[in-house]
Symmetry: D2
Subunit: 136 residues, 4 copies
């Protein structure tokens, strides 16, 4: 089952157009990714510090489907997927919840596993792979 | 009883020093303020739109007591207080929760009630005053 | 000739991984878009207020090629392009400048012209179209 | 002479109230601090990495005097001042520039010099002290 992260839109997410700033949808999707991993026992910042592995985002694609206003309750639904030995993708849908559940955005990010010291690609670490398999 | 807003620190809250960026503590306190009002039936953005009242922040003071790292669970505890007919203050304490509850920051903001159309000060609206009295 | 926007990376652009947070590349590209339009005589916020036109971003794609650290001097190079009657795209390249000019990111955004009051698509306004033609 | 940092207000600085979000004034003042130090030959991030010194902000005070809208040209004027052996303050004034120069905010931050490894206070490093003296 996809992980669902619940969140309220705050003033600091919005811009003078009155709704969430486009780049902020990506931050919100990233929060969902952090929460999903933490919920599966992999606190990401701790994981980076402990293993010397970093997982930069290499690509992102986003479709902004509906504006989101301050105070709105949203849900980020995430599905990870292995791309190859070193890379995985996350498909995130941001849902409006009121008055009915409607897609507000769809975001796809590609993540590459790298050894911090050498900057070389490495296989997806087992703890991350386990999360991908359980959540896919 | 003071309102308590629960929050996790995210990567987007931090900077290259590895911990939450100082200005971000104020954003987090503001999230708590929005949540406290919403919980008492006053969704702030809706309130501004419906009443033509705006409540800009005139002053802030902050003491940054402890660094906060990505993944940390924090609590924002808020106490509002009337200053005069048009102004109120909010005292916000941000608490670390692990391994023990410790103060991470203390933030005080002053808020002025203004009629949007004329930019003139007006008395604190009843809905906000009610929240202040119930939460003080 | 493409517009070139010069910028320094600040602490508030970075996260605990020590480099610019991925979503922040999109904000920086948007700054370049605002600067490019302002330089051609179309201050965007004023334009929205005066015309009742809004131009939300419908899609974005980004490739993050190199990390950027606090203090780095970067250049955002922008090329707009008409997609159809109501839509245009912007190709933005973010360049590192030191020690040599190297691509740090490539970002493509799609923008849709909308009448604010009705939320209906409208033709690209002449002032924007003129910028697209002069800068393409 | 105080250092003056020139900056344009961007959409990402604003919130749904249509003007710069209060916490963002502090980020903008911090940009000015980074630029002032860089201009005097002390790129702050590099300095932290090279010396093992960090300089967290212990306190901030801000008065928000005038709203700032997207597209506005602003100037941040900074004056540093020694507090004691380990601490200095920065007084930053953010100026609107159009139609006339008017104060938009005043921000005071207190900075403590700390050895990163031990988290102990240390005297203000000579390079920083030199900047304080030249800019005061």
């Amino acid at each position: 089952m996809p992980f669902r992260y619940h969140r309220t839109v705050h003033f600091s997410d919005t811009d003078a157009a009155g709704v969430v700033f486009f780049a902020r949808y990506l931050s919100i999707a990233h929060e969902g990714y952090e929460e999903a991993l933490a919920a599966s026992g992999v606190p990401l910042a701790q994981f980076f510090a402990d293993t010397g592995v970093v997982i930069p985002i290499a690509k992102s694609e986003a479709s902004y489907l509906r504006p989101l206003a301050t105070g709105e309750k949203i849900i980020v639904e995430l599905t990870p997927q292995t791309i190859d030995e070193s890379r995985f993708a996350i498909e995130a849908t941001i849902w409006k919840t009121e008055p009915a559940e409607k897609r507000a955005a769809h975001i796809r990010t590609e993540h590459v596993c790298i050894e911090s010291a050498t900057r070389r690609k490495i296989p997806i670490p087992p703890a991350i792979q386990k999360w991908i398999e359980s959540a896919a």
